[in-house]
Subunit: 180 residues, 2 copies
């Protein structure tokens, strides 16, 4: 998609919190950010090179142990990140295949739609505990670092919406069971 690339700023955001390797950045994407942003190695490493060329990051090669390239954000990188953070939000996008298949539910029938909703419910139920754990841990260490406040709000956004998903699932299952 030719929609404006934001990965560079996501990476800078992560580097504004701590120095990281490409591998570690990918891990953050798969854990902390995974419910609202994602990226693969195939985009992370090239973007890191780009940021280096633009002077938005520096790299330190760790010699001892593994072949590690640890990235740090530069002053220019921080400035670029900051200016983006102050701009209005351009796009919030949700792409739920579940809703798509629900919308076309008549074609496949009530039973099939129930299967999808149940699977969706299951997935949400599996993820919620991790969000609760993150919430607890962030609440306990909130005083230590100001970033924790923002992490916490993000996590609580996830909790709120996931809880409302579950409520809706209950309702939808009830309605559909009445039909088929």
């Amino acid at each position: 998609m030719a929609t404006e690339k934001k990965l560079d700023r996501v990476i800078l955001g992560l580097l504004s919190h701590e120095n990281l390797t490409g591998y570690e950045i990918k891990k953050r994407m798969d854990t902390t950010l995974h419910y609202f942003w994602s990226a693969s190695y195939g985009s992370i490493y090239p973007t890191l090179k780009e940021l280096l060329k633009k002077g938005y990051v520096n790299v330190t090669i760790e010699k001892q142990g593994r072949n590690k390239q640890i990235y740090q954000i530069t002053k220019q990188g921080s400035a670029y990140l900051y200016s983006w953070l102050c701009k209005p939000i351009e796009k919030d996008e949700l792409r739920y295949e579940t809703l798509l298949k629900l919308f076309f539910g008549k074609e496949a029938g009530g039973e099939q739609t129930l299967i999808h909703i149940t699977a969706f419910e299951e997935k949400v139920k599996q993820e919620l505990p991790y969000l609760y754990m993150a919430q607890q841990s962030l609440k306990q260490h909130q005083q230590e670092d100001e970033t924790h406040l923002y992490y916490l709000l993000t996590v609580e956004f996830g909790i709120k919406t996931y809880e409302s998903y579950l409520e809706w699932c209950q309702y939808a299952i009830h309605v559909l069971k009445g039909v088929c």
Copy 2:
């Protein structure tokens, strides 16, 4: 992105409800589907051609009035749609720039983050009335067509989540006002 294309089945789904032109399909994307799926002319028209070549749709050219190409789904198209609808959901993706900027909120500060959350709240408040209207209208005409039940559930998913967004906004604004 090299993630499997689903637009073909979205279009078939829409055509399973009613015959449509490319232009009208785009309109459905911008209204009914817009909060969980989107597409531009640059992808819709080529996909329509593809579907035609595969025999999943037929086209009727309306001579009187405008130059209109009305598409109908074929038996093969229905079968293809049906088999997809019965497969498990592969991916539900949420990409909220708002959450990204919130997560990196410390870099821009509490005031700036408040601006984003307020804008987000505003956007949700603007969209909710349309969902309520759709809900009312679907409830009234529910008996007429079985598809309405599925539309209704989709709309109510939107309502539930949007309402929980608003609750979270209130909370987040309260928390952030306490800091700055």
